[in-house]
């Protein structure tokens, strides 16, 4: 029996961030029940008990495995109730994923520091991190009552994720050094993943949403849409009026993050709640009901989830979601509401709406990261941006304190990029350099760089006579605060003779300009604050959409040198170090490698940050219990999923 405790396989000894996350619900109590007694002692929701008594459902002992995952709950809950949440009309499928669809082989602990058992009860890793053997739970079932075994994992990986007709290139969490790993069945409940190169980060990747492929597809159901198992699949495709089997497969079995994952009520899953009213183009709400075969129990042996059903209302308009919130019609919600300008309204209406605010610890590093395009198409601009002294002058030329006070209501501190303060990998040199406001020094640097001449408006001129002027792309509908911050930066920089345009553009244009390398500069909240290994895009050119200071370098890195532009030596060194860190299971050694990366990042000083990312917040009804008062806010820790909504319950 596995327990949600400190005793699970720890990945990061000595790397606990408990200090920072004080106030998180502790997970300490141990269950005293012996292994085999569980199935008999387990209790279930009244509605299910009734179905079982009527013979419409097998008894609980047959539905859950003899070895269910025991969740250590803060309070043992009571069954019942319907939890209300809001979705947006378009592309909001991840709003459902974050709540229920987090059932991978492993999962994160609450502090976002270690990987815990989930679908896999335990696992072994070989010495050089190329082989991972997962032991699944005996007798575990899909939501339709069919057994879940190693065959399902092998089918999901070998027949689906690695099938080039379904995925042109295998999903990146199972790929290392451009080669996909192999899943092999050892016995019914044991499955082994083998990689050609060391891949120590594999377990952490499996705990993120994008690492869910191994448990995504039920073989007994999805194989009927797969030509390898069903030679007659062409007729099914034709009957459904679709073009190829891949489309049919996606339509029926979905994928990790597409709406059709929640569009088919027949698809078996391992989630605590299963789809009753699907998320489709015409839907006005989505309803999910408890999975009678869910494989987790609380410490008293009650089968989870406590809450009977989830009801997601679909609003086209965020303002109507706000109305729902303040009138108390949402039980837990942070999505779409968590902008700073909503906070006063939501705080004022706490009593009326009967909710409390919960704090979401930002996983990002930077609230506003300025990316000067160091691979600019114009040689003169490139030369200017690529000069570290120039960037240093710009950084010293801005008054961070004023920005924090005026735009972020004092809730932040000056910060460049880097792991957040309190993180074991916090790097003072990287995060604190050039954050003081020193216009005199900035001016001196710019004079020395040959930009001493000024025009009539006090704007400096380059040696070729052009004004120092560039545009910074920003998406006003997404991050209105960044526009405000940039307006202040524009004023600060005007004082040192640098002129910018705050270029407010639509988000698709923002991406297209980045993809084509057409931008002078851009801003974005800089990630990598709590998850530097999972999103290192600001530490070296790693992300082909996100590393906006040098997207061609990132393309070079991702394509293994085939596309993009060859980066300078310092970048290549970091790419190599990161690859080594990713392959290193020993956390001391990994930390040392990453420290080297941060040293080099600090030395290169490519991005200019303003201040530490501000914590977000969510609302939670007063009678909703077992919700941690504070938890991370991240995509790699897809809140609230790892806080285990299946153990939330409504107090009477």
């Amino acid at each position: 029996m596995s327990r949600d405790t400190e005793h699970g396989p720890r990945l990061r000894p000595g790397l606990d961030r408990r200090d920072m996350l004080k106030g998180l619900a502790g997970a300490t109590a141990l269950s005293a029940l012996p292994d085999m007694a569980f199935a008999q002692a387990a209790k279930e929701a009244p509605a299910l008990a009734k179905l079982a008594a009527e013979g419409k459902l097998p008894p609980l002992a047959e539905r859950i495995s003899g070895n269910p995952l025991v969740i250590t709950v803060e309070k043992v809950g009571r069954y019942g109730g319907s939890l209300r949440r809001g979705l947006r009309g378009s592309s909001d499928h991840n709003g459902i994923l974050r709540m229920v669809g987090n059932q991978g082989l492993v999962r994160w602990n609450l502090a976002f520091t270690a990987v815990l058992p989930n679908v896999a009860d335990k696992w072994e890793v070989n010495a050089d991190s190329t082989e991972f053997t997962f032991h699944l739970r005996k007798g575990m079932k899909w939501s339709d009552g069919k057994p879940f075994t190693a065959d399902d994992v092998v089918f999901s990986i070998e027949d689906c994720a690695k099938n080039t007709e379904l995925y042109k290139s295998a999903p990146s969490p199972i790929v290392i050094d451009n080669k996909a790993g192999t899943a092999t069945r050892i016995d019914e409940t044991t499955v082994k993943f083998t990689f050609a190169s060391p891949y120590a980060l594999f377990l952490e990747m499996m705990a993120t949403p994008l690492g869910q492929h191994p448990t995504l597809f039920a073989k007994h159901y999805c194989s009927q849409f797969h030509p390898k198992y069903n030679p007659g699949v062409a007729e099914l495709v034709k009957a459904a009026n679709l073009s190829d089997w891949g489309t049919l497969f996606r339509n029926k079995c979905g994928d990790i993050e597409i709406p059709s994952r929640w569009g088919n009520a027949d698809k078996p899953t391992l989630d605590p709640w299963v789809i009753k009213e699907p998320y489709t183009g015409g839907a006005t709400r989505v309803v999910m009901e408890r999975n009678p075969y869910f494989w987790q129990v609380d410490t008293a042996g009650n089968q989870l989830p406590y809450i009977d059903r989830l009801s997601f209302s679909i609003s086209q308009d965020v303002e109507s979601l706000m109305l729902d919130a303040i009138s108390g019609r949402l039980d837990i919600q942070e999505r779409h509401l968590d902008t700073l300008q909503n906070k006063p309204t939501l705080s004022q209406n706490m009593q009326k709406g009967g909710y409390r605010l919960i704090e979401l610890v930002s996983s990002s590093s930077q609230q506003v990261q300025i990316y000067l395009n160091m691979t600019h198409k114009d040689a003169k601009m490139r030369e200017m941006f690529a000069n570290k002294e120039f960037r240093k002058a710009l950084s010293l030329g801005m008054d961070r304190k004023e920005i924090i006070d005026l735009v972020y209501l004092g809730q932040s501190q000056p910060h460049q990029t880097g792991p957040r303060p309190g993180h074991p990998w916090y790097h003072a040199g990287l995060s604190e350099q050039f954050t003081s406001h020193d216009p005199a020094q900035a001016n001196a640097i710019l004079d020395k760089l040959g930009y001493a001449k000024k025009d009539a408006n006090g704007i400096r001129l380059r040696p070729d006579g052009q004004r120092i002027f560039f545009a910074i792309d920003v998406i006003p509908t997404l991050y209105p605060d960044e526009v405000d911050a940039l307006e202040l930066v524009k004023r600060h920089w005007a004082e040192i003779g640098v002129d910018i345009k705050v270029n407010t553009i639509e988000r698709a244009l923002y991406y297209t300009r980045g993809d084509n390398n057409d931008h002078d500069a851009a801003v974005w909240p800089g990630p990598g604050g709590l998850d530097p290994m999972l999103d290192p895009r600001d530490y070296f050119a790693q992300h082909t959409q996100g590393s906006r200071y040098a997207i061609p370098w990132a393309q070079w890195y991702v394509s293994g040198g085939k596309d993009g532009q060859e980066p300078p030596e310092g970048q290549k060194q970091r790419m190599k170090l990161f690859d080594q860190a990713r392959a290193t299971a020993d956390l001391e050694k990994r930390a040392a490698l990453m420290k080297h990366v941060f040293d080099l990042t600090a030395e290169a000083f490519e991005t200019i940050g303003i201040c530490l990312a501000v914590n977000a917040f969510g609302i939670c009804k007063n009678n909703l219990q077992n919700v941690p008062q504070k938890y991370p806010n991240a995509w790699t820790w897809p809140n609230p999923g790892p806080a285990l909504p299946q153990q939330f319950f409504f107090a009477t």
Partner: protein
């Protein structure tokens, strides 16, 4: 008459071809494509698409091909197989998505139309006949007020008052228990109970402008010699009004039928979004924003077809109602 109709119908074919091409180009004009928007939408919640998957999507949806190839794939599917393609976003056939919402849109639009006409016609006639009376001033004042208030604002205010002051839910067209229930008497009653709110909101602005139009038209007609003649011959005032000036004053109403049909799809989008109505408008807007080309294209094509049909109907009706109009 029949020849006229046949000719008009034939003209629709080339018009539709041109329009479908223009629609497709227009939808493609904004920078980026569906995949860019998809990535951007997810990034807005700090979510990341697997970089391998993103590249895959473009190939799978054929977005890597030239636009003209994409257009021919789309239009040939429609013409040859009646297949409107697959919505990128929902991975569902476009036709399923569209028809699902059209029925409710129809109900809403016609209810609004009936309400608008039912209120505007008598009031318009009244305020023309009693020109510059106190009643006229009062009606005029309210109709200007109605014209001035944007309907989405009215919807928001109504929702706020209902939600915060009365704790009532205003959005949607059905109560919780009827949303997915099959049609029954109970569901129809439930629909009627919810329908009046959007109908009133939508009717407010429509009524106001129609009152003004009606009033002006009636005023034009009331001073014509034939009215004086009829009155001199001793026709009762009511009979006189209805028989001649009103009939002529209706002309503009009939001409607006050609706008009415496309309004089925694209009218009242903002109100529908604010009130979360399950009508076609929000789906159209959403498909345009996410650059879900086939879905948006089908909607635009539908709107254009309806406009063409609508103008044909209004031409025919005009010819029937107004003897001054001749087709030849």
């Amino acid at each position: 008459m029949l020849r006229f109709i046949a000719k008009r119908l034939l003209w629709m074919v080339p018009s539709l071809i041109v329009v479908s091409f223009l629609a497709f180009v227009l939808i493609q004009l904004p920078p980026g494509d569906f995949v860019t928007t998809y990535i951007a939408t997810l990034a807005a919640s700090n979510e990341v698409v697997d970089q391998n998957t993103a590249a895959d999507l473009r190939v799978r949806f054929g977005l890597d091909q030239p636009m003209i190839v994409q257009y021919f794939k789309w239009i040939s599917g429609i013409v040859l197989r009646g297949d409107f393609g697959l919505s990128f976003e929902w991975q569902q056939p476009v036709s399923d998505l569209i028809w699902e919402r059209m029925a409710l849109t129809l109900v809403l639009t016609f209810s609004t139309l009936l309400a608008t006409w039912g209120i505007a016609l008598p009031i318009g006639v009244f305020s023309a006949v009693k020109k510059y009376s106190i009643g006229d001033y009062i009606v005029t004042f309210f109709s200007f007020l109605g014209l001035a208030i944007p309907s989405f604002l009215l919807a928001l205010v109504l929702m706020y008052v209902a939600a915060v002051e009365f704790g009532q839910e205003v959005g949607g067209l059905f109560s919780e228990q009827y949303v997915t229930a099959p049609w029954s008497i109970g569901k129809v009653i439930d629909l009627l109970q919810h329908l009046w709110i959007p109908v009133i909101i939508l009717a407010v602005s429509g009524t106001a402008s129609l009152i003004r139009v009606m009033r002006a038209n009636m005023l034009d007609e009331l001073n014509k010699p034939y009215v004086t003649t009829a009155r001199a011959k001793g026709l009762s005032e009511f009979h006189l009004l209805v028989k001649y000036p009103l009939r002529l004053a209706l002309n503009p109403f009939i001409s607006t039928i050609s706008w009415l049909l496309p309004n089925l799809v694209s009218g009242s989008i903002i109100v529908a979004i604010v009130l979360s109505l399950p009508t076609a408008g929000p789906l159209l807007l959403q498909s345009l924003m996410s650059q879900d080309m086939y879905l948006a294209g089908a909607f635009v094509l539908l709107i254009c077809t309806l406009t063409l049909i609508g103008s044909l109907i209004s031409d025919i009706l005009l010819a029937l109602v107004d003897p001054r109009i001749r087709l030849e």
